[in-house]
Symmetry: C2
């Protein structure tokens, strides 16, 4: 597996997107989010997405140099038509609008339809926490998940993301699928011919299975919602995200969402901390809780307690220093498409 | 176990609270929320709380006929000092403020400190969905839950609640602890001398146990966060609620929260659906998703798919008709305190 520096990934990707017709801003915004996903250890949302993005542009599914349109607007709200621009560009603009509104009223909420795949949610939520706001982002995603008690794929893996600033160090960032795992993890096991752990997937009759082929091959099974013995809770969260992301924006829910061209239905909110009290006091309370968590007695087999975002921060340090491992297949595909686009390598 | 009608529970409870000095409004608001919890099947949040509430009033921990105070306010936000009024009265007023703000700006968020136990969250979220808004409520609660990888009680059971209206029937209402189960369920098992299922609790060293005594007796164990094999996700949600409920309001997090007199630190938000598009379209999309969920192939052992709030609605129908089962111990305690208060029974 080649190890590629972040700079090289950025450079190649930016030039490929520009060769497709993307503006400097579009190309660098999109690649910045993809490469950050690799640096933070989430390769499923990294440059592996670049070739599919380019193929979608080629078949007319993504509009480059397009503008978003604010369809409906209030002091604290906006409904945005993403006009099928690059998801990263559209969702970043969405969070900027939410933040602008929160600066004026204390809270801003933006809902987006006609939006291509936005990648990891963490970066959008972090835009809010960087401005001393609480960021909250959810998106409806393609249907892979069975409802509690069901055996069909009705719901998306529908991630939830929160970010808050803290007194020391980088923000708390929770970014999680409401399914037990993201579908990409089943993909990896399938590609490697490995079994999946108990509790990830069911076959098309709803029976537990460890065979990823039962998920990918007809008749297809489904991912389970988060929760194990309390999977009705994960199902509930997954359903709520489907409504926040799909019903409020008009991107659609379930089958309706799939009919409308995939991508993501997006819900972004920013809540201004200073509207409630001194930001420093908030940050100190966060830090105080982190201290309590770190000081917790450890369970057998655990050396330390981490807070959400910390594993990704550590991976970022490591990969920024050492480069990013990219599978041969992914890197070769990128190079092959780059050559087609006559991008000098 | 005596079966008591909702009317009788209301009547006795209202007269007891009024005998303590509560106003008509305070007594009926508090009892309305407690009795609704019983009717919807959540006895742990029902009239079992009445005697503890009265004892807290008696020792000066709850201020009757007190007023909330808005400490800081923006167009879409308010920080509220609940002045240790009855939690139901304070939180209901909080959601009213959030709704008023959402009617003007599209979004309203209210954070409350100095607030006694608010009971079930569902009723506050439903106030928003009744007005064609999306209700979102979380509260920080007393520390019973270990962090992922930990063996100490650092976090609360910290429930999350969402409500949205739908085209037909009652709203979708998700109301769930971010621990595997609410602590009250462990309590019931302990009182009955029964074991708890796998995955609920750990002992004080962080080992899994089925013995509820390991949770209640020194050295005390802890509840596990939601998630099973993905408990890091439930832990993340639990931590975020601790921050939304405790750090933003100033009610405090973990130990700090416990020092400040218990109760709940409250975060309430209302998002106005009509600010994003026609309410009927939203409701039809919700209904469309429910149809898809209901039509899902069933997993082995399941006869139907339910949506969040539906089990409670069915219990409500049944108990409204048949009355509420109250354990002898709870009912006798209520009657005994009623006699002390010279309430005619």
């Amino acid at each position: 597996m080649p190890i590629i520096t972040a700079e090289r990934l950025m450079d190649v990707g930016v030039r490929m997107l520009k060769a497709m017709g993307a503006s400097d801003y579009e190309a660098s915004t999109c690649m910045d989010f993809l490469v950050k996903a690799n640096l933070r250890g989430h390769d499923s949302h990294g440059v592996i997405r670049l070739v599919p993005y380019i193929k979608r542009i080629q078949r007319g599914g993504t509009n480059l140099r397009s503008e978003i349109r604010i369809v409906r607007e209030g002091p604290s709200t906006a409904l945005v038509d993403g006009n099928w621009g690059l998801g990263q560009v559209v969702a970043k603009r969405g969070m900027e609008i939410a933040i602008e509104k929160a600066q004026k009223t204390g809270a801003g909420t933006v809902s987006i339809f006609n939006c291509c795949h936005v990648g990891r949610l963490a970066d959008y939520a972090e835009m809010a926490s960087d401005r001393n706001m609480i960021g909250f982002v959810v998106v409806v995603a393609p249907t892979f998940v069975a409802p509690y008690g069901g055996a069909s794929r009705v719901l998306g893996t529908n991630p939830i993301c929160f970010s808050t600033p803290r007194a020391k160090g980088r923000p708390i960032i929770l970014d999680m699928a409401t399914s037990v795992v993201a579908s990409g993890k089943v993909n990896v096991k399938y590609a490697r011919g490995e079994k999946v752990p108990d509790g990830w997937i069911i076959d098309s009759d709803g029976n537990p299975t460890n065979d990823p082929a039962k998920f990918f091959e007809e008749p297809m099974g489904a991912l389970l919602p988060l929760g194990g013995i309390a999977a009705h809770k994960g199902y509930g969260l997954c359903l709520i995200v489907e409504l926040l992301g799909g019903a409020l924006s008009g991107a659609g829910c379930g089958k309706e969402f799939m009919k409308r061209g995939e991508g993501n239905g997006v819900f972004l909110s920013a809540t201004d901390i200073s509207s409630f009290g001194p930001v420093d006091e908030f940050k100190n309370r966060v830090e105080g809780l982190i201290d309590q968590l770190k000081a917790s007695k450890k369970a057998v087999g655990f050396a330390e307690i981490l807070v959400p975002g910390e594993p990704e921060d550590r991976e970022f340090e490591k990969r920024s220093r050492e480069g990013v491992f990219i599978e041969d297949k992914t890197w070769n595909e990128i190079l092959s498409v780059a050559r087609e686009l006559k991008v000098a390598l």
